[in-house]
Amino acid sequence: MSVGAAELVPGAPGGLEFLESRAEVAARSPLQLFWRRFRQDRVAKVSLAVILLLIVIALAAPLVIKIFGLPGPNVENPNLTDQFGSPLGPSSAHPFGVDSLGQDVMSRTIYGGRVALEVGIIGTGIATVIGVLVGTLAGFYRGWVDTLLSRLIDVVLSIPILLLGLGIGAACAVRGCIKGAIQPGLGVIIFLISLATWPYTARIVRGLVLSLREREFVEASRGLGASDARIMLREILPNLAAPIIVYASLQIPTNILLEAGLSFLGVGIRPPTASWGNMIAQATPIFNTAWWWMVFPGIALLITVLAFNLLGDGLRDALNPRSAR
């Protein structure tokens, strides 16, 4: 329970003895309480460590491949394919093998992680900001504002994102659309992912705000003369932090998968830039001869998504101790 240990200290409630009692009990902020619970969750801790490691590798990608003595991700080396053009498998110089252009798979997997995390974190970040904004306004003002924004959510949810992505991919692949303003790549994929996912956050936030705004502390704040903006930012938003963090941490892996899917379909990151999705897509035709080309980016994708999902579960348990474990 969130009531926590401090409430159970003997001699605490009522009376006038509270003046001297409990002085020795240090105050625990919600953050400290959260951290105490989180530390006991081994799975979540390991997931957090894995994610931090992935982030470090992604940030320091050039350094990492230098340490392993690997060539850059886009360095093509025809000497690494046999006379039929089939790539060579894992070796000491190329632990994950090479692809059919002679590019190092490990190096490309590391750089692909960069893309995956970028898309996952930035895309989720944008979607969360939009979702919280729309959801808070809809839940707080209710009435026609809510009706309008809720219909907008319904409209956006009815956009077939994969088809839209495929359309953009097909129409804009060669020279870009609208005089090159839209070109398949990181920007488009982040845009698509944000567009596809903010309505879910908005719906959750709207529901929470609808119930929070009826709490008496909101009324108390209004009675003190607080403006609507202040009530939303200072009274309601802090109470949304936990569910938003949990939801966003579970949204990141979904978005990484979506990026892989879109890149697989040729909408997202396009070769020569490395992405797990497009690596897997390219590897598909020769999977029988060059399994490593598909398997290593696949494992990287699996580990990343799993780690984020388990971290999200751990965060949920630690932030909302009332939910069933």
């Binding site: 926590g4 401090a6 409430e7 002085a23 902020s29 009324e219 108390a220 003369g225 932090a241």
Partner: protein
């Protein structure tokens, strides 16, 4: 602001009345409520909503609150007490009617004008668990009024003021950085009182401030409120459904039933000689802490309170009233003096014999 301690009977009014002619401060009531009405629409349909009725939460209430006094508002759950409080605080907008604060009509104030008025009146809420934001420290909860009104901006000044307030209401100032969940119900209510007092308001509205607390804690909080009232010269509107609590606290009492005031008068008069049958029934239901008292015939009301969406015609109490006659369902009784000091809205007020028979103990 805080330097100017509200003196109940002195000081020139800062704002002169805009609608009413200026009245000497000692005579002009702090709050004047006139024909206050609040109807909550009942709607049906999801997209195309149409109104199919209204809950008449408050339906034509008028009263004055004089400077420095305590006015009690009592009544059963759902009779409109809390709504009345929220209308005075302008937490809700009245359907019609007027609230005047120091002669100024505040019903339609907006923006900065309303914010200025909010400094003068504050509210203590019923549920100390829901009225404090669980994500904020006690210090920032009590200091919030200063932050909102841009007061005590200097470094350390706000913290000092908050800790002083905490001490005033009987909290340990060292608990400044704690969170509400670390406090008991009574302590939380003290936090609520401290927050309400931070701006040194003239009017304090306490909406059932003790009904969510343990009986053992109730008296502490009530005494704290009285202390604060004396200390800061507050005018208090005290809302409760417990008549013994109201008696302990209030100079004057208004009894509400289904959105209307049925009887009002000084506490002494009302408790000694209730004229409205509803008041009589309420008083008769107050338990007597005397084992030798075997109770004369308790006048317990039968049935439930009728729905405020469809209240009885004319006198709203006639469906449950033991003295009801045909006139009561035809003609709305007005609040008037029935010769015993209170104002009573009843065609057939109780007589002394009836009051004695139902066991209202004027001495108790």
């Amino acid at each position: 602001m805080s330097a100017q301690a509200p003196d109940p009977f002195g000081g020139a009014p800062e704002r002169l009345a805009t609608t009413a002619p200026p009245v000497p401060d000692a005579v002009q009531p702090l709050v004047q409520v006139r024909d206050l009405v609040k109807h909550f629409p009942i709607t049906r349909g999801i997209i195309f909503q149409r109104k199919i009725g209204a809950v008449r939460a408050v339906d034509g209430v008028s009263f004055d609150v004089r400077r420095g006094e305590t006015l009690g508002i009592v009544g059963e759950t759902g009779c409109g007490k809390s709504t009345t409080a929220k209308l005075i605080m302008r937490l809700q907008k009245p359907t019609s009617g007027q609230v005047r604060f120091e002669g100024q009509d505040i019903t339609d104030l907006r923006g900065a004008d309303m914010k200025a008025i909010r400094r003068e009146m504050q509210m203590i809420f019923q549920d100390p668990y829901s009225s404090l934001n669980p994500r904020k420290t006690v210090g920032s909860i009590i200091g919030e009024p200063y932050a909102i009104h841009g007061l005590k901006r200097e470094k350390g000044e706000r913290k000092r003021a908050v800790q002083e307030l905490m001490e005033t209401v009987g909290l340990n100032p060292e608990h400044y950085n704690r969170y509400p969940h670390e406090f008991s119900g009574g302590q939380r209510q003290r936090i609520g009182v401290a927050r309400a007092l931070a701006l040194r308001p003239k009017l304090l509205i306490a909406d059932e401030p003790v009904s969510a607390l343990d009986v053992s804690i109730q008296a502490q909080v009530l005494n704290l409120l009285r202390d604060m009232q004396r200390r800061f010269g507050l005018t208090l509107i005290f809302i409760a459904h417990d008549l013994s609590v109201v008696r302990h606290m209030c100079d004057r009492v208004a009894v509400m039933y289904l959105g209307k005031i049925v009887e009002t008068g000084s506490g002494d008069d009302l408790y000694a000689f209730p004229r409205h049958p509803y008041t009589g029934a309420l008083l008769s239901a107050v338990p007597v802490a005397d084992p030798s008292h075997h109770g004369s015939e308790r006048r317990l009301l039968s049935g439930d309170v009728p729905s405020p969406a469809n209240p009885p015609k004319a006198c709203r109490f006639h469906t449950r009233c033991p003295k009801a006659q045909e006139l009561c369902s035809r003609q709305q009784p007005q609040l008037e003096d029935k010769g015993s000091g209170t104002l009573t809205a009843c065609h057939f007020p109780l007589s002394r014999e009836e009051v004695a028979a139902i066991g209202v103990r004027s001495a108790g």
